[in-house]
């Protein structure tokens, strides 16, 4: 694929200093990195050609990255999401980039993962030769994060701790693998949210999007994770607004969660160098996290400002105003039903 610098900027993080020992790796659109890398590799392997058809189930930034790449590189794109997962503004942004967006019903408000996958397989059958990137299981997703590791070591050299949110597991597993091969003592802290199966909660509705999952992705390598934090939606929203109101950083709510945990760790280990991954900018969250009226409608808003997480001895869901953590100590994946 041709190297187009106006898209490269989306996938190249800026390192911003948030404290003497805390850096944010701030992306405009982090998912551009795995999306571009996966499509490049698919082209190399002959799975995708110019004019070819891509189909994926995604409701967020991965869909956006695919749509941006598709318009520039002349692919046809079908995105499958659910009525509860995608707002009309976002849908129309994707459609303006030429994507076909299919929203399946979601009466139970659980994301209707089964319904989305069934629809995806239907589209694949109707369009033979279509390419499905499978961001949850495609090893090129974590493999692409050499670019993040590259920027981190160029700017900081050795780091002691990497903090990041987990959805597909690609960014945190991938970046950790590249960095740990150089700095074996580096610690990795994963951020999840309540009712996500990634670290052992039963699946349920999640208010904070962009992290967590209701199925277990192969790209999450639990054996790399030292500690897991579950950040409730309200704590993430509060921290995101605080970043804007104190530092003028206009970022998405998963970045708020990452900085909440990153600051806490950096405060406790002042001699260590900590990097927190910040996956996207704030624009998409203008009608929600950056809207006071919307926040006021959320049950429990405003939450109490928490300086410390509550330590758990076993994985269990807490409230949206809570922040909990436990030592994961690189154990293997929790038992969950894989779909």
């Amino acid at each position: 694929m041709e190297n187009l610098s106006f898209l490269t900027d989306y996938e190249t993080p800026r390192m911003v200093t948030l404290d003497h020992n805390l850096q944010g790796a701030m992306f405009r659109l982090m998912k551009m990195l795995p999306a571009r890398f996966m499509l490049d590799r698919a082209e190399e392997r002959g799975l995708l050609k110019t004019g070819g058809h891509i189909v994926e189930t995604s409701s967020g930034t991965f869909a956006m990255a695919l749509a941006m790449l598709s318009i520039v590189h002349d692919y046809r794109l079908t995105i499958i999401s659910a009525t509860t997962l995608m707002d009309m503004n976002f849908k129309s942004r994707l459609e303006q980039l030429g994507a076909s967006v299919i929203l399946v019903d979601d009466a139970l408000r659980t994301g209707n993962q089964d319904g989305r996958l069934a629809r995806l397989h239907q589209v694949l059958e109707e369009n033979p030769g279509s390419y499905w990137p499978r961001q949850y299981d495609n090893p090129d997703n974590p493999g692409s994060y050499s670019r993040l590791a590259e920027v981190i070591v160029d700017k900081l050299g050795r780091i002691d701790c990497l903090v990041g949110c987990v959805g597909s597991g690609g960014s945190l597993s991938g970046t950790t693998r590249y960095l740990q091969s150089l700095f074996p003592a580096m610690r990795t802290i994963a951020i999840d949210t309540n009712n996500s199966v990634l670290f052992g909660h039963p699946a349920g509705p999640r208010l904070l999007r962009g992290l967590g999952n209701s199925i277990m992705p192969e790209n999450l390598d639990h054996a790399l994770i030292d500690e897991v934090h579950w950040v409730g939606a309200l704590q993430a929203f509060r921290k995101t607004r605080e970043l804007y109101e104190t530092k003028a950083l206009f970022v998405g709510p998963t970045s708020g969660a990452a900085i909440l945990v990153g600051e806490w760790y950096a405060r406790h280990y002042p001699d260590q160098t900590v990097v927190a991954i910040m996956a996207d900018e704030g624009n998409r969250y203008q009608p929600t996290v950056y809207c006071d009226d919307w926040l006021k409608c959320q049950q429990g808003w405003p939450p109490v400002r928490l300086a410390e997480p509550r330590k758990l001895s076993k994985s269990m869901p807490a409230g949206e105003a809570d922040w909990t953590f436990m030592r994961w100590a690189q154990r293997s994946a929790p038992m969950v039903d894989r779909q």
Partner: protein, 341 residues
């Protein structure tokens, strides 16, 4: 400035004989060819150092995204080749010792490049670099020969030209043209992918080889075919090398070398690599390095540490006990006179 100007005018005014024009050093005058005088050659000398494996070798993208094989060499300044060109009346270039054909070819290419034909002379090659041990003796001879020709002709010689001529004379070139300046060098093309800003951090090195690893013929060697995850790892190693050199950080550069050596185990494995890693850990070295197309290995020690000479002594004895051969100590970017000199 005023004085200089005055002097120049004096020279121009007093020029009675054309020879005085040629000999009046910094001042523009008629060039020999403009005066119809054939350009003469003088005795010229060039030098080039050896290398001892690489700190990093792999494939790396250029700005256009295309991948190129390239390396960050480990200079071995203790050994060097000194080549002198002696002009003779008879056409043709011969070498002493006889039969150094690559050096002769490189010299001839350089003469052609500078616009000289029908050249006659002798290249004397005085090299302290052992031949056939993977220290790049042949490349050093070629580079020193090109430099000798430049000196003999009074030609300007940019490093990129040396690289191009060396590749022409020898198929592949080496970054030793750059001496102790760190560059990511595409050795098969003879060009630089990246100039790292800064110098190599001061390193003390103990280098050796094992009888259990066969020597490698560099030019006949089939280059490694790297996998996708290795190619991505090289990106990270390149960035870390850049950081290490910018900050003169021996520890980080050692990490780069060890990681590159570990990847190389999938392609040209060193039989006693685990023992070398263990030894590096025992002496608290900053890393290990290997020759990616040869059988050399070594242990890198931060020369700024007070303990470095003790570490070096211990490592040397341990390498001997492990049965390694060709044991040699050297420094890169060190200050002062090394204890083994």
């Amino acid at each position: 400035m005023g004085g200089c100007r005055k002097l120049r005018m004096c020279c121009a005014l007093s020029a009675g004989h054309p020879m005085s024009l040629i000999n009046s050093f910094p001042f523009d005058s008629l060039s020999p060819s403009e005066q119809g005088i054939t350009r003469s050659l003088r005795v010229g000398t060039g030098r080039a150092i050896a290398h001892h494996g690489e700190l990093l070798q792999g494939v790396f993208p250029r700005k256009d995204g295309r991948l190129h094989r390239a390396l960050l060499t480990l200079p071995f300044p203790r050994a060097e080749s000194v080549v002198t060109f002696w002009p003779e009346d008879k056409a043709g270039i011969h070498t002493r010792p006889i039969g150094r054909n690559k050096a002769a070819k490189a010299a001839m290419l350089a003469f052609q490049e500078f616009g000289f034909s029908q050249i006659g002379g002798c290249l004397t090659i005085e090299s302290s670099i052992p031949i056939g041990c993977g220290y790049g003796s042949s490349t050093a001879d070629v580079v020193a020969a090109i430099r000798a020709v430049a000196s003999a002709t009074g030609a300007q010689l940019h490093r990129s030209l040396i690289c191009r001529l060396a590749v022409e004379a020898e198929i592949a070139s080496d970054a030793i043209v750059f001496g102790e300046q760190a560059v990511l060098f595409a050795h098969r093309e003879g060009r630089v992918l990246e100039y790292f800003s800064g110098d190599y951090p001061p390193l003390d090195i103990i280098g050796f080889a094992s009888r259990d690893d066969a020597p490698v013929d560099t030019l006949a060697f089939t280059p490694a075919r790297y996998g996708s995850s290795e190619i991505e790892s090289f990106r990270v190693l390149r960035a870390l090398a850049r950081r290490a050199i910018r900050n003169s950080d021996a520890g980080l550069l050692g990490q780069v070398a060890s990681a590159s050596a570990r990847i190389n185990q999938n392609h040209l494995p060193k039989k006693h690599f685990t023992a070398v890693l263990k030894l590096a850990e025992e002496v608290d070295a900053c890393g290990v390095h290997v020759a990616h197309s040869g059988n050399l290995m070594g242990i890198l020690i931060d020369a700024t540490k007070e303990s470095s000479s003790a570490q070096l002594k211990f490592a040397t004895a341990a390498a001997r006990n492990l049965g390694f051969t060709d044991i040699v100590r050297f420094s890169v970017n060190g200050d002062g006179v090394s204890s083994w000199r």
